[in-house]
Amino acid sequence: MVFGLVAIFAPLLAPYGPTATVGSPLMKMGAHGHLLGTDSFGRDELSRVIYGARPLIATSLLAVVVAVVLGFAIGLVAGYFGRFVDTALMRAMDVILSFPLILLAIMIVAALGTGLLNLVVAIGVSQLPVCARLARALAARERPREYVLAARTSGFGVVRVLFREIAPNLLGPIVVQATAIVAVAAGYAAALSYLGLGIQPPTADWGYMVKEGQEFIFAAPRLALIPGILITLFVMACNFAGDDLRDLLVGDRGI
């Protein structure tokens, strides 16, 4: 929550623009009113840290939307129709899963080029099978239920049965799954950005800021450390939020 608010109100909170040169390079913390000092280009580090939250949060949330919507649709269709459709779709998902997922994301970005949208696609696709498998299992469970039969005998079309009758009943578990994926997606987004495959400089972005900071790790360790810690906190917050939500909805502790 806090992370989201900071990201949205970044322009109000940040004392300077994220790409504006406001002082001499590598100033110490607190010098000349720069709370976190300046980076190697003399940009205000605090402002960059505040703005840097935006790409990470945007990418991870959008990627989850892609993964959940597409994966949900695929799983629903596979689980509902069964037989050939099921086999074909789920084998396709298995093939995606036979990759280390981050490798798949790296490959997609390598092919499509960098940029926010490509990043979203890459991470979304890599998480697709996870959602599809869950949705398939759930849909297969719902199919023989009476209300589905009733809807079908009422002469509703397939699309209506799938998305108006079955889908709403599966939302709970899917939402839980989605929150679990946010943390993974954020980790991937940060990693790709660290590799230089994310949002391109000079835009402030935590992952890449760690990379830039690494060059000055002896002179100014804070430049790499602060965004690194923030990324960790963000992913942790997502994990805890996911766990809490699951406990709330499912009501058991599990693993």
Binding site: V95, F99, P100, L103, M107, A111, Q214, I217, N239
Partner: protein, 333 residues
């Protein structure tokens, strides 16, 4: 049992083919083609030449066929830039990545399983909640963030360990197999081992710690569940020694989900290895691939991606086979 293993192994070529196909097509969804990128300043004639020399003038299906043919002969083409064959580059880097992966698995299993067992044994005490909190912390930590933290702590502040590369530049090392341990034995170069280990510690810790969190969780759950089973109580009632109850009854039954999660985590582990190689300038396949991406050196990217994916499939197959040894009940299937 042999039949089952044979069946599992027979699947390998098919999975390999599917994976190779995906790698091929994903890398060809590039808008435009590699020649456009390579030949930005070239004249039209030069560009046609480049296109021809890369075989890009053929249809995608023809290219795919050639790719598969080359693949069977372990011919992955050669780098657009250095001209070195991709097979040679992979030979240089793959052993390095395998070393790192093995070291990381050791770290992951040692730390994950011990903390998991401790948490289960001291259930609902501060040891339990503490280890779970630590587990969440470490698997929330992106690989590179932990890498940077370790560099800061052990490299910059304490100055205990080197923070980049695989061996110090002053060491004269002519790779033979490029596995340091094997070379050390073959060529009597035992002096290589210590600096190699020093360089390996931080990357291996980075990958191992971030993946250990899951192992802790699963181990704890598996042990808690097995310890409350009837057969454990029966064993105790028979007056069996506590040590024997633990190893023969609890550990063996709880090990199944642990092996599963180690196998599953191997994907994350390889991904982590790719990133850590970049963080620590460790000369493995991951770094080769990431550098090649920036140079748009597609044959190298393709070869590296294939090798990493195959390593992953191989480990998953081995995991499946190891179930059969651990759980005789599955052998009948």
């Amino acid at each position: 049992m042999k039949v089952l293993i044979a069946k599992r192994l027979a699947l390998l070529p098919f999975v390999a083919l599917a994976v190779a196909t995906i790698v091929f097509f994903v890398l060809r969804i590039v808008p435009g083609n590699a020649a456009d990128v390579l030949a930005q300043q070239a004249t039209y004639g030069q560009k046609q030449q480049i296109i021809k020399s890369l075989g890009l003038n053929q249809s995608v299906l023809e290219q795919y066929w050639l790719f598969l043919k080359g693949f069977v002969h372990l011919n992955f083409g050669s780098s657009f830039y250095s001209g070195d064959s991709v097979a040679y580059l992979l030979g240089q880097t793959l052993p390095v990545t395998i070393e790192l992966a093995v070291a990381a698995v050791v770290v992951m299993v040692l730390i994950g399983v011990t903390t998991g067992i401790l948490a289960a044994a001291f259930r609902d005490t501060w040891i339990d909640s503490g280890s779970r909190l630590l587990a969440t912390f470490f698997f929330s930590m992106p690989w590179f963030a932990l890498g940077i933290l370790l560099i800061l702590l052990f490299g910059v502040k304490l100055k205990w360990l080197p923070t980049y590369g695989r061996l110090p530049a002053t060491v004269n090392y002519q790779p033979k197999t490029n596995f340091i341990l094997i070379d050390a034995v073959l060529e009597d170069r035992y002096d290589l081992i210590w600096p190699w280990i020093q360089h390996l510690i931080l990357p291996a810790l980075t990958v191992g710690l971030t993946t250990a969190g899951f192992v802790t969780r699963i181990t704890r759950a598996a042990f808690v569940e097995t310890m409350s089973e009837d057969f454990v109580r029966t064993a105790r009632m028979k007056g069996m020694r506590e040590r024997r109850v633990f190893w023969r009854h609890i550990f063996r039954n709880a090990s199944l989900p642990i092996v599963t999660i180690v196998g599953l985590q191997f994907g994350a582990l390889l991904g982590g290895a790719v990133i850590s190689e970049v963080v620590f300038a460790y000369p493995g396949v991951g770094r080769l691939m990431v550098n090649a991406i920036f140079q748009r050196d597609y044959p190298v990217v393709q070869g590296a991606a294939l090798v990493i994916a195959f390593l992953y499939i191989l480990v998953n197959t081995l995991t499946d086979i190891s179930y059969l040894y651990l759980d005789p009940r599955l052998r009948r299937a």
